[in-house]
């Protein structure tokens, strides 16, 4: 535990150093990677460890984003409190959903969360206090003056996002190695056996849901920060798809993998952009190529390495040994 804490602090220090040495665009993408890492860890926690599949994490992110923005704008609270509220509200939402979903198995849960992903952004369109299609602003403010003139807004985003990501990954990794983590794995591999040895699998699943939603909500708030607003257009079904893809690429049960998954998610639009320009750059190509790449990656990885690329490497390693 102490060792791991030291590792995370060291990682943070490295990232800060790196943040000083790369250009603005990369810094911004760094913040995005941190955001995706949080969001993916939410899926990994749920799918990889508890065996449930949620396709609605984009919707959970929306809950977090809107909670943060409403808190910041209406209560005039400090910025950190907005992030806390994002966690609290989405955790509650997740607990509610988990209570319903704990009684469901595979297809029902997948369908229900998919319904959420499709429908929840629609709801934001319908209510005035949620800002409709244009959404509402979420402004975390300028970086503190003591960091100096050179310290840009994007770097500030990067700092905040990285800090939150490291903190939440640290907590998540500890939870996964605790008694709870072991119980989840037991339930995933054999829920009947787990029940018979005295585990309340229903309660444990609700807990997994709650934590997963809290993480997703946090990611949603970080995302709102990086784009400075919350709007239905930000939390689309495509986002939920991308997250599932990232999680599969990360290897659904590997927490370190989320950084790899997040990296790919940020890289895809960039790669797509380059390709689209090279292939003539018409509007459709620009709009749909990223989605095409995400889908193809998702399909290929689910067919050939359903448990993440790490699995194959590990197996190869074992064979050698």
């Amino acid at each position: 535990m102490r060792k791991k804490l030291a590792l995370f602090i060291f990682l943070g220090w490295i990232l800060l150093l790196v943040g000083d040495r790369i250009d603005e665009l990369r810094v911004y993408q760094g913040a995005q990677i941190a955001m995706y890492a949080i969001a993916l860890s939410s899926i990994v926690l749920l799918t990889g460890y508890s065996g449930q599949v949620s396709l609605g994490n984009g919707a959970m992110m929306a809950v977090g984003g809107y909670s943060a923005a409403l808190t910041l704008n209406n209560l005039g609270s400090p910025v950190w409190f907005a992030f806390v509220m994002a966690v609290v509200v989405s955790a509650l939402f997740g607990a509610f959903l988990g209570a319903a979903a704990a009684r469901l198995s595979g297809p029902y849960l997948a369908g229900t969360t998919l319904a959420l992903a499709v429908g929840l952004p629609e709801i934001a369109n319908q209510f005035d206090f949620l800002g409709g299609v244009p959404g509402i602003l979420f402004d975390v403010g300028f970086p503190p003056a003591r960091f100096g003139e050179e310290f840009t807004q994007y770097k500030w985003f990067f700092w905040i996002a990285t800090f939150i990501a490291l903190l939440s990954l640290f907590i998540t990794s500890n939870i996964l190695q605790s008694r709870y983590g072991r119980t989840w794995r037991a339930i995933r591999s054999n829920s009947l056996a787990a029940e018979l040895s005295g585990v309340h699998s229903g309660r444990m699943k609700i807990l997994a849901f709650t934590l997963s939603s809290a993480l997703a909500g946090l990611a949603g708030a970080v995302m709102a920060m990086t784009i400075s607003l919350v709007a239905p257009g930000a939390y689309t079904l495509a986002l939920s798809f991308a997250l599932v893809t990232g999680a599969v690429l990360a290897g659904v049960s590997s927490l370190p993998g989320v950084v790899f998954g997040a990296l790919i998610l940020v890289a895809i639009p960039e790669v797509a952009d380059v390709l689209a320009t090279r292939w003539g750059g018409d509007e459709n190509l620009n709009n749909y190529l990223p989605g095409l790449i995400v889908s193809v990656l998702l399909i290929l990885s689910v067919i050939f390495t359903p448990n993440g690329p790490g699995e194959k490497l590990k197996r190869r390693h074992h064979k050698k040994a």
Binding site: T47, G48, G51, V53, L55, A100, R103, L104, G106, P107, Y108, A110, G111, T112, L114, A115, L116, V118, G119, E122, I123, Q126, F127, R188, L237, A238, F241, V244, T245, V248, V252, S253, E283, N284, L285, N287, Y288, L289, G291, L292, V294, S295, V296, L298, I299, V302, I303, F304, P306, N307, G308, E311
Partner: protein
């Protein structure tokens, strides 16, 4: 009183389209144990093909025929080239259970991107095969239109044909047997893998009809059938996911309920209404309304 009747009739027309989508989902679920989220994509691509034909020939029904054919081909293709490969590869590990679901999701994204690359994102509309202006009774014009009536009739015809296929033909018997007990069906000499592919084809064709009918009173875009998928799924859950009759009943109930919410409460609550129905059914009657011994009756 009159408004209630009108709402009911429009709900019936909406619900009958949901019924097609939910039947498509149930058919695939029964034979393959996968909720095929790609169904929205398959139906959308079929509808785009139907749209091209209908627009060029100016004959809606020709477009519908092509949409059915395209949907059937696409459904068979997805099973043959995709699901079979998937089941061969994804067999173990933490993702084994979720792999098929995630794969259909990937397929939905793939079809959506391809459609976007070909047709772009702008809204298309198909010229409706019947007037969308309401019927006039005496002096008054009601919202229920000839198109609504035509939709109900078309769906009814399709449901009857499906019932005949499933209850009266050898193909239907093979489909049911392969879904209920694949091994026994196989031992009885049924080519279960081929039968399953035929089931996917039927589901695909039915999905194509659903797409064309929705689009006849609405617009078409790479995203326009997502809500239909969600409502089709909710309807299937109301029916218990196993039962075709149940899913039709569920779809009609859902369509009527949502239309009442739309007319009496407001647009803003339609989706929430659908979602609440889903959660309540899952909490109160997770096996669906047709449960109690009849749960798996076709």
């Amino acid at each position: 009183m009159q408004k209630i009747l009108e709402t009911f009739l429009i709900g019936l027309s909406t619900g009958s389209i949901y019924a097609l989508m939910s039947i498509a989902l149930v058919l695939v679920w029964r034979s393959t144990r996968v909720v095929n989220f790609a169904q929205a994509g398959q139906a959308m691509l079929s509808t785009y093909i139907g749209f091209e034909i209908a627009t060029r020939t100016e004959i809606f029904w020709l477009g519908l025929l092509f949409a059915i054919a395209a949907g059937a081909l696409l459904g068979a293709g997805v099973d043959y080239f995709f699901m079979r490969v998937l089941f061969k590869h994804a067999v173990s590990g933490p993702a084994a259970v979720v792999a098929p679901v995630i794969a259909t999701l990937g397929l939905l994204g793939l079809i959506r991107s391809i459609v976007g690359l070909i047709w772009g994102g702008e809204f298309k509309s198909i010229k409706a095969p019947a007037s969308t202006d309401g019927f006039t009774i005496g002096e008054k014009t009601i919202p229920f239109s000839p198109l609504n009536l035509l939709i109900i009739v078309t769906v009814f015809v399709i449901l009857i044909s499906l019932a005949i296929i499933f209850q009266r033909t050898n193909l239907g018997l093979s489909l049911r047997a392969s879904a209920y007990a694949p091994e026994i069906a196989q031992l009885a000499g049924i080519k279960t893998a081929r039968t399953r592919t035929i089931g996917w084809a039927i589901a695909g064709g039915v999905g194509g009809v659903a797409g064309m009918l929705v689009t006849s009173s609405n617009f078409l875009s790479p995203y326009s059938l997502d809500l239909l998928l969600v409502f089709g799924f909710i309807a299937a859950v109301i029916g218990g996911l196993e039962s075709m009759v149940g899913s039709v009943v569920g779809a009609l109930i859902l369509g009527i309920a949502l239309t009442f919410i739309l007319n009496y409460v407001g647009t803003s609550l339609v989706f929430i209404g659908g979602f609440v129905v889903l959660i309540v059914v899952l909490l109160v009657k997770p096996d669906g309304i047709m449960a109690k011994g009849r749960a798996r009756r076709a």
